[in-house]
């Protein structure tokens, strides 16, 4: 099946990078809603609680998009289409396992 590779690679890589980013709490930036500001470095307590989610998404996009565009199409298309579904399913399973800490 030709042409699917770059789309599959983007989807797989986006999920992997996002999972790693939140696991290691590495966001490109954080948003502090109390003061309404974006910051690259952590802010002191008066700035209020941060939101890392936007930063995790941006990190994932900035890594997965260029990679999916750079990888040669022939190489990308060697990837089996099934991986585009299997790897995200595995990532969701990992997320559920990791987040079970909230229910213990």
């Amino acid at each position: 099946m030709s042409g699917h590779g770059r789309f599959s690679i983007f989807s797989i890589l986006f999920g992997i990078v996002y999972t790693l980013a939140f696991f290691f709490n590495t966001a490109l930036f954080k948003y502090y809603p109390l003061v309404g500001q974006f910051h690259i470095v952590d802010q002191p307590k008066p700035a209020g609680p941060p939101i890392s989610w936007y930063g995790w998404l941006a990190t994932s996009l900035l890594i997965s998009l260029p990679f999916a565009l750079i990888v040669p199409r022939k190489w990308a298309d060697r990837l089996s289409p099934s991986w585009a579904g299997l790897i995200p399913a595995a990532l969701i399973f990992l997320v559920l396992v990791y987040e079970k800490r909230w229910f213990l």
Binding site: M1, S11, Y31, P33, Y54, S82, A84, E99
Partner: protein, 174 residues
């Protein structure tokens, strides 16, 4: 009117407007989620085995839809619904989450954490999902199409249910 009272009134009005705006976004977010839920459920059921028209019951008819035609709508609805969620997130972080922590509802915080992660993974899945549902549908893409559609269906159902439970949590856990 004294200056302090006037500025207080302006602040109160701004807060009220902001609350109205949040309520509007929340209702639209919920309505879009309902549309998304319907579309993805139809499409997900359509990827399972079909039965002859004469033997069709309600479920068979539910899944006997032109599934590919839902794809663009699902992609757009997913993105717009996520944007709505992203706009609501600061209010959740400042108003709802501290309340949940005060009430010691750790599980409620947990299901929301999962919701945000699933939404992100779902956003990443959209390009591959869109590609495998592109016309004409290929036989090589059947497995990927089925996996991706059911994963998205799981994500959308989870996020829909969690969103509604959290929205009504004060009434549910008095």
């Amino acid at each position: 009117m004294p200056v302090a009272a006037s500025s207080c009134l302006i602040c109160a009005h701004a807060a009220l407007e902001s609350r109205d705006m949040i309520t509007t976004i929340l209702i639209r977010h919920g309505l879009l989620a309902v549309a998304l839920l319907g579309a993805i459920t139809h499409q997900a059921f359509s990827t399972s085995k079909r039965v002859p028209a004469a033997q069709q019951n309600f479920v068979d008819k539910f899944r006997a839809v032109g599934a590919a035609s839902y794809t663009n709508a699902i992609v757009i609805l997913f993105i717009v619904t996520c944007i709505g969620g992203a706009l609501l997130y600061p209010t959740y972080r400042l108003d709802v989450r501290p309340t949940l922590e005060d009430l010691d509802l750790r599980a409620a915080n947990g299901v929301f954490e999962i919701k945000e992660h699933l939404a992100a993974i779902g956003l990443g899945l959209l390009p591959a999902y869109w590609f495998f549902w592109r016309q004409p549908l290929t036989i090589e893409g059947v497995v990927a199409r089925r996996y991706l559609t059911w994963i998205l269906a799981f994500i959308i159902w989870w996020n829909f249910l969690v969103g509604h439970v959290l929205n009504n949590i004060r009434g549910l856990f008095q």
